[in-house]
């Protein structure tokens, strides 16, 4: 069992698209996969044509157990289930604050799913508050989409500094370039520079493509409605890298 967060402290970087496509590709390999949509905007939930509704909302969510378990919906694809988002998740931060051991609640909520699923992917909202602590405490790996722009790289540095300060294992944080425009000279230069600066940058990137935006129209993973497109192949490459670096070989020090 592996848990993976698709996370960024900057918005609009392609988190949800990555989460939806990676979870679909994971399920296609036969791994029982659960995608948790933690974003109150519920885009991932929308992509799978599922109603954004949790039983008893955030209240039920933070309580964990049966209510959360019963909220899970099967997607249209084998081996892939979704824990839908709910608009009330916008209060998740505040709800965690009020609790004891407030930084480790999410880990506890996900516990019952660890038996049933081989892979749990979290689609996270933009945050660097207590929800971020919860996410980093709950997962084995974090994958950060990075647009090759100065601001995006700057926020990534902030994240790594935050992790170092709070003693989250930085070597379990990986990044990949997202929304890359290969015609832009600056994108190319930044990618080369950043690959040298950080350790965990995957050798695979997602270009800026209209096909990916069309997911909103088709409400399906790219590989379903355009299996032979560049977009689909890019996600397949990214998934291969994720598998290589995070899922196999199985690291014995996991399952903390």
């Amino acid at each position: 069992m592996t848990t993976l967060a698709i996370y960024s402290n900057k918005g609009g970087v392609g988190k949800t698209a990555a989460a939806v496509n990676l979870s679909y590709l994971a399920a296609q390999t036969g791994a029982k996969t659960l995608l948790c949509d933690l974003d109150p905007q519920s885009s991932a939930t929308y992509y799978f044509r599922i109603k954004p509704k949790l039983r008893s909302g955030t209240k039920g969510f933070i309580k964990g157990g049966k209510q959360v378990y019963k909220s899970v919906k099967g997607t249209d694809y084998d081996n892939l289930d979704l824990l839908p988002a709910d608009f009330s998740l916008r209060n998740l931060d505040a709800a965690f604050y009020k609790l004891r051991r407030s930084k480790k609640r999410l880990k506890k909520i996900l516990n019952p799913f660890r038996v049933e699923y081989d892979l749990i992917i979290l689609d996270c909202p933009v945050t660097i508050s207590i929800l971020a602590d919860n996410i980093l405490n709950a997962v084995d790996y974090t994958l950060v989409p990075l647009i090759p722009t100065t601001l995006s790289v700057r926020t990534y540095r902030q994240l790594l500094a935050f992790c170092q300060k709070n003693r989250y294992a930085v070597d379990r944080i990986y990044a990949f370039f997202s929304m890359v425009d290969r015609h832009k000279k600056m994108h190319k230069e930044l990618m080369a520079a950043v690959a040298g600066e950080f350790n965990g940058v995957l050798q695979s990137f997602i270009p800026y493509l209209a096909q990916i935006e069309k997911m909103g129209i088709h409400r399906e993973p790219v590989a379903v409605f355009a299996p032979r497109s560049v977009a689909s192949k890019s996600y397949q490459n990214l998934w291969n890298k994720v598998q290589e670096t995070m899922l196999s070989p199985v690291r014995s020090d996991l399952g903390r």
Binding site: R49, S71, V72, K73, G74, D76, R219
Partner: protein, 524 residues
């Protein structure tokens, strides 16, 4: 876990019409039909079937599951279909099957062609809320092949129970009834005229206590002849070593029955076939010996110190060559006129109607009496021989005792249907323990001698030969130590078998019914 429901299709079920009607309530999306071919495997003696397992391949995958269950216990990728357990890739499936298949080859029993046509039932967001899958099975790929079975699956989607409940109602209204999951495997075999579990080398004979002894003997011998014939036809294919083995055991049992079920046939007949079957048995002696050495190759190697393990290879290469010659000898033996005549005459004898004139003295005796008498007598000789060994500790006597035990075992198996099953099985199990000890001792003696003698035959160059001889010497040493251990265990094993409790049970089952001067007492 959500359960998939299987539905039987009513006569005249019209899929198009049903889906059209359902489409009034739900948008339905038809998916492409999937055609697959499955091949089902088992050993000749149904080892997997007997353990309630189904092994089947589809594409580059191999699955193991329980009958009538759709969840597989193991699923692995394969490049080619394994025949023997040592062909399997290491892993869970291999570990699961190893103790079951042992040395037997997997045979492809039957092929099944499946077609499935999935329909997605959608809600207003065009999200799948349930699936309906029409599925049928045929015994060949052609469209006109007879259908082995067809049904409709309702596969609920997690989180949408309301829709599944509605669909259950709609299916019932359309006349579809829930069916238990039945295994297509059994049906496919039936159509291919194969009966699961139909072959077993174990003696499985039902006798009536009041039967005449000559008739009962014929029932037993006919069963053995059947085993001989079934295996005989497969020996030539050389699929695995056990066809020869089962064949030989049936020959040995036949010889034992001829000798032990005494005076039921005219003396001339008995004598002739005793000799004939001794000849038949000898035909495959060499082949079986070589098979055993080669089957044990890995075990022998494991007994050697690692530095010598490769040095023994010339020995096994030599044995393999000998084996292929021995095999040819058996094949020509089985095709010889003499062999054919023996078996033909034997078959004729077993099938000819009873002739009352010149009948043998025990021919008309109720079989229960003869069975009790023979078993009890044999039991006494086993105990007597065993006690003698405890006193004298002679190796030759161990061999004599082994033969006595074998005869007793065969008698008890032939006649087991005449006695309380639980009780006789307890005694057979006890006897088996003693036989295992004696068998191990004998095997080790024979192997030591064989290995020492074979060195003369090894056609290797001088240098290699020396190394091989060292390895063989080391192996013989190990076998000798093992033999001593087995011998040391004899006294205790035998004392267990000859225990007062077993003696009482033997008397109760077999001696209480023999009353002096009154041969015809019936079992109650």
């Amino acid at each position: 876990m959500l359960k998939n429901l299987q539905y039987k299709l009513p006569d005249g079920y019209d899929e198009k019409q049903f889906m059209r009607k359902l489409a009034d309530q739900y948008p339905i999306k038809k998916e492409p039909t999937i055609s697959e071919r499955f091949a089902i495997y088992d050993t000749f003696d149904w080892r997997l079937f007997n353990k309630s397992l189904v092994l089947y391949g589809c594409g580059h995958k191999l699955f193991l599951r329980k009958p009538a269950k759709s969840m597989s216990i193991h699923a692995i990728e394969i490049t080619s279909v394994p025949v023997f357990i040592w062909d399997f890739p290491d892993g869970g499936l291999k570990r699961h099957l190893a103790p079951i298949l042992r040395m037997r080859a997997l045979l492809k029993l039957v092929e099944v062609y499946s077609r499935s046509r999935p329909y997605r039932v959608l809600n207003r967001d065009e999200k799948t809320v349930a699936r309906l899958v029409y599925e049928d099975f045929r015994s060949s790929g052609s469209k006109n092949a007879p259908t082995l079975g067809a049904h409709l699956w309702l596969k609920p989607v997690k989180g949408y129970p309301k829709h599944s409940r509605i669909l259950v109602k709609r299916l019932a209204e359309a006349g579809l009834t829930k069916s238990k999951e039945e295994d297509i495997y059994i049906k496919a075999l039936e159509l291919a005229d194969k009966k699961p579990g139909s072959y077993s080398a174990k003696v499985n004979i039902q006798l009536d206590p009041d039967m005449r002894s000559d008739e009962a003997a014929k029932v037993i011998l006919r069963f053995l002849l059947h085993v001989i014939r079934v295996n005989e036809t497969n020996i030539e294919k050389d699929l695995d070593t056990e066809f020869v083995h089962d064949y030989r055991v049936a020959i040995r049992r036949t010889r034992s029955a001829l000798g032990q079920i005494q005076y039921v046939f005219p003396a001339k007949t008995t004598d002739r076939f005793k000799k004939d079957f001794a000849f038949v048995g000898k035909l495959s002696n060499d082949l079986r010996d070589l098979d055993v050495y080669l089957l044990n190759e890995a075990t022998y190697k494991a007994k050697l110190p690692p530095v010598l393990r490769d040095d023994i290879d010339p020995l096994f290469d030599h044995l393999r060559k000998k084996r292929s010659k021995a095999f040819q000898k058996v094949i020509s033996g089985l095709k010889s006129k003499k062999y054919e005549k023996i078996l033909k005459d034997w078959e004729a004898l077993l099938n000819q109607p009873r002739q009352d004139d010149g009948a043998a003295p025990n021919a008309a005796l109720p079989i229960i009496d003869l069975a009790c008498k023979r078993i009890y007598k044999k039991y006494r000789s086993v105990v007597k021989a065993g006690n003698l060994i405890l006193e004298t500790a002679e190796d030759e006597m161990l061999h004599v005792l082994r033969i006595h035990c074998k005869k007793l075992r065969y008698l008890m198996e032939f006649f087991s249907s005449l006695f309380a099953r639980k009780k006789i099985n307890v005694l057979i199990a006890q006897l088996k323990k003693l036989q295992d000890n004696l068998g191990d001792f004998n095997d080790l003696c024979v192997q030591e001698e064989y290995l020492l003698n074979i060195t003369k035959e090894l056609p290797t160059t001088q240098r290699q030969l020396k190394k091989t001889l060292v390895a063989i010497g080391s192996l013989v040493g190990t076998l000798g130590r093992e033999r001593q251990m087995v011998k040391d265990a004899f006294a205790e094993t035998f004392t267990d078998f000859a225990s007062p409790e077993n003696k009482k049970l033997f008397q109760e089952l077999f001696a209480s019914q023999i009353q002096p001067g009154q041969a015809g007492t019936k079992k109650d």
